[in-house]
């Protein structure tokens, strides 16, 4: 019997696990995939939004602002990079200037402080972002806008929760939930678990999970966003550049990433579940055609990847954050600005909805700090060599584009065990550079197989997707 089961290990589930691990409770996170945070958290804009944009009075508006104000400390405690680059919403026509004026008003209604949003002339905006397009006539500056690394945030939150006593099971897809005398019985991955409370943070699948216990009361439709990633040796912008918002959300942004790449996108289209991660000629052309409205000198020849992410959009348009039956908290439609809002939602749900059921006090021995990983590129040559003396693997660079060392690929020995070839690409950045793993994927695979003590043939990329089909004659 667990006190709380969290369904889904995206950034929302991860930060709920961490928040709960501050209390003397038994916590289990169930994840259907072979790795954590493989859905909405994996592929999004990574922006910590200021809170200027959501509809006033909405849960999005409330938790966006609260979450933004928690990110700096959270990033420090979990040692997750945070690029405090600020943001600019830019207008390129008189009509857009009007939209911008409306947005300025909204930012105030949403509770941003005076120094958290300012209207700028073109000249003032150019000081913050020299690469604005020639059409930009006016801009709203949002200095609290920042950029995080969503995957590392989720993994770090989970690692910290695990170090404080939480448990995590991957490859455990929840197939049924029933009520019992003491709470709930959860069937997942062939196992049966009991829990006194459940937090449903299953993202795109949250409505499906909810319906195991409740009548249908919300629907999630994937809203696809397509992106380009550019080579990190050629930064394009130094601040997040938003267009004036239109009917389809915040529009196509240029976002500087924590590793130096620039992200161009996303588009916004409701699609079937099957198509939520598919790029299309129409979508990527839309990015190409719209991005040059707000910024210039876009090096389309420096694109190293395109991808599609998916936002779990609820039919009501707002976040769903409620205890829909005693002990069962539904978190539905946590789409943008969900990444920003996640820590604030977690704090609210845990403190207001979950903990009152258990009447427990916070643990005295909760450790909020996740140990910092060694980052060789931040060190001097002498400091690097000290690490190499201790561990020669720091001297062996596996991924030459992103200078990822063999020692960085210690995923298997960390609390959130990586088993997938895909993880290394995303979280540890082996293969995330301009060659996209062409040179290092074999070596990464061999390291994974050695460290996991499994046959190379059994290394997966995504769940149930093999990397290798067969061994040939004489292969070891």
């Amino acid at each position: 019997m667990y006190d709380v089961i969290i369904i889904g290990s995206g950034v929302v589930g991860a930060l709920h696990a961490r928040e709960l691990s501050k209390y003397p409770l038994s916590i289990l996170v169930l994840e259907k995939n072979n790795d954590v945070s493989m859905e909405a958290t994996l592929a999004n804009s990574a922006v910590v939004h200021s809170g200027h944009d959501p509809k006033p009075g909405s849960l999005k508006a409330k938790f966006n602002l609260l979450g933004n104000r928690m990110y700096r400390q959270l990033s420090k405690e979990l040692h997750v990079p945070l690029l405090e680059c600020g943001g600019l919403v830019v207008a390129t026509s008189p009509e857009e200037e009007q939209v911008l004026d409306g947005l300025f008003e909204r930012a105030g209604v949403n509770g941003l402080l005076e120094n958290e949003y300012q209207m700028l002339t073109r000249e003032e905006a150019l000081i913050l972002e020299p690469n604005l397009s020639d059409q930009v006539s006016k801009a709203m500056s949002l200095p609290t806008t920042a950029v995080t690394f969503p995957w590392e945030m989720a993994i770090a939150g989970l690692e910290n929760a695990i170090n404080n006593g939480a448990q995590l099971l991957m490859n455990h897809e929840v197939t049924d939930i029933t009520r019992s005398e003491h709470g709930f019985v959860v069937h997942a991955g062939g196992d049966v678990f009991e829990a006194k409370a459940i937090i449903n943070s299953a993202g795109a699948y949250s409505a499906h999970i909810s319906e195991m216990l409740h009548p249908k009361f919300f629907t999630i439709t994937p809203r696809r966003g397509e992106y380009f990633v550019t080579d990190n040796r050629f930064p394009i912008v130094q601040t997040v550049v938003y267009p004036a918002p239109g009917k389809k959300g915040k529009g196509i942004l240029a976002t500087p990433m924590v590793h130096g790449n620039t992200l161009l996108g996303p588009t916004s289209n409701f699609v079937d579940f099957d198509a939520q991660h598919q790029t299309t000629p129409e979508g990527l052309n839309e990015v190409r055609n719209n991005i040059t409205k707000t910024i210039k000198h876009v090096p389309f020849d420096k694109i190293i990847r395109s991808f599609a992410g998916s936002r779990p959009t609820a039919d009501a348009g707002d976040f769903i954050i409620e205890e829909t039956s005693p002990g069962f908290v539904n978190l539905g439609g946590i789409e943008s600005p969900g990444l920003t809002a996640a820590p604030a939602i977690a704090k609210y749900v845990v403190e207001e909805l979950v903990i009152p059921r258990f009447s427990v006090l916070p643990k005295s021995d909760f450790d909020p700090i996740r140990k910092k990983r060694v980052k060789m590129h931040e060190l001097t040559i002498n400091e690097r060599n000290e690490h190499i003396k201790d561990n020669a693997k720091y001297g062996h660079i596996v991924c030459r584009c992103e200078t990822v060392t063999e020692a960085d690929l210690d995923a298997i020995h960390r609390p959130v065990r990586a088993r997938s070839h895909g993880r290394d690409q995303t979280a540890y950045r082996a293969g995330a550079g301009r060659c996209q793993g062409a040179f290092c994927s074999l070596e990464v695979l061999k390291i994974l197989s050695r460290e996991l003590n499994i046959d190379p043939i059994d290394v997966e990329y995504k769940p149930r997707s093999f990397v290798l089909a067969a061994k040939t004659k004489g292969a070891q």
Binding site: H277, Q278, K389, C401, R434, I457, T472
Partner: protein, 377 residues
């Protein structure tokens, strides 16, 4: 040592240099032996992470850690890398099973792993063609090769020996318009393209495959050039060099696929020898500066290497170049300023095959530029 040669276990190497038909590893071994005989120091498992204009560089390996050294001369011979799925417009999901042909080659030839059982290849570059044969021989089924251009980008002998001999269809003027499969590749859709390279509706064909290999071009590796201030050429993607293979940074030389992408390793070796000799002369203080003669690609030519020739008595100059299309029954004209210096008749010229023309150094010393162009007869 030996770079990409170590995974090229097919033969066809060394016909010019050694008058023998060697495999890649055998060819590499010849040079590794020469290096060892000469008593040259070398470091393996080492990555150079920095290179500066003063020829200092930083490398790292697990034994020595990070080490800073300064060379009296530095030669860049870093080879090239393959254009990736991310660099081309590949639409659809991002499942496992999509990779460059060279990656599949390293899995197969270095460690004996077959990356898929039903394979399609996009791009008719030589590595893709070689891998079509190689995967077939290892028991995979290769369903076809699609090439965006109306002509192959691989060598003619590879089309015959790797596709025709195994009944693998080559779809010219075709491209992959969608990849399908969320975890592992399940199928691809190809379509014919028009002259603007846009897919023609109604020409779609679906192939159920678990693997898509890409052979869509090679780009010189230039990860060290920016920091050192080395100027790159927009068409070759590699450094701009003179006839000594010296870059714009004195004492830093470049050769091989890191300079411009070759078809034949023998020519790579020739270029390497020339760059090595120049570097040795530089260290001895034997190289002197001179005015530059620029070389220009004219009609029908994509690029010419070297990009400059020094106005001083030296060995004959070998001009390497590629044509921009398939040409039949043409003349290649070399102009010294506007005066025709040399003219060669060619029955067929294709972009897949690098051309080389040797010009006596003293013949062009009074020129300010040399232009090479294709004249259609």
């Amino acid at each position: 040592m030996g770079g990409i040669l170590q995974q090229c276990i097919h033969s066809g190497f060394g016909v010019e240099m050694f008058k023998e038909d060697l495999t890649g590893p055998e060819y590499a071994e010849r040079y590794i032996e020469k290096m060892q005989l000469a008593g040259l120091e070398f470091r393996t498992n080492s990555l150079v992470t920095e290179l500066h204009e003063d020829r200092t560089l930083v490398y790292t390996n697990p034994i020595e850690g990070y080490v800073e050294v300064q060379g009296k001369a530095v030669i860049l011979t870093m080879g090239c890398f393959e254009r990736t799925p991310g660099q081309i417009n590949l639409y659809g999901d991002r499942p496992a099973g999509i990779m460059t042909a060279g990656t599949a080659q390293s899995f197969l030839n270095k460690d004996g792993f077959l990356v898929g059982k039903r394979v399609f290849i996009l791009g008719s570059g030589d590595i893709g063609l070689i891998m079509a044969r190689r995967m077939t021989l290892e028991g995979a089924e290769v369903l076809g090769v699609a090439e965006l251009n109306p002509y192959s980008s691989g060598l003619a002998r590879n089309i015959v020996q790797c596709l025709d001999d195994f009944d693998i269809p080559l779809y010219l003027s075709h491209t992959v318009i969608q990849v399908i499969g969320s975890s592992r590749l399940e199928s691809i859709i190809i379509a014919e393209v028009d002259e603007q390279k846009q897919p023609i509706p109604g020409t779609e064909k679906t192939f159920e495959v678990d693997t898509l290999l890409l052979s869509v071009g090679l780009i010189p590796d230039r990860h060290l050039t920016a920091q050192a201030g080395i100027k790159l050429h927009p068409r070759t993607g590699g450094p701009i060099v003179n006839n000594r293979y010296e870059t714009n940074v004195p004492g830093i030389f470049a050769a091989g696929n890191g300079l411009h992408v070759h078809d034949l390793v023998d020519w790579v070796s020739l270029e390497g020898e020339r760059a090595g000799e120049s570097a040795a002369r530089y260290v001895q203080g034997e190289l002197t500066d001179a005015e530059l003669i620029s070389t220009e690609p004219g009609n029908g030519i994509i690029y010419v290497v070297p990009h400059y020739v020094l106005k001083q008595v030296d060995e004959d100059v070998r001009f390497y170049f590629r044509v921009d299309n398939v040409y039949k029954n043409v003349k290649v004209n070399i102009y010294k300023d506007d005066e025709l210096l040399k003219s060669l008749k060619k029955n067929v010229m294709v972009p897949a095959e690098m051309e080389m023309i040797k010009v006596a150094n003293q013949d062009i010393l009074d020129a300010s530029r040399v232009r090479i162009e294709v004249e259609v007869l």
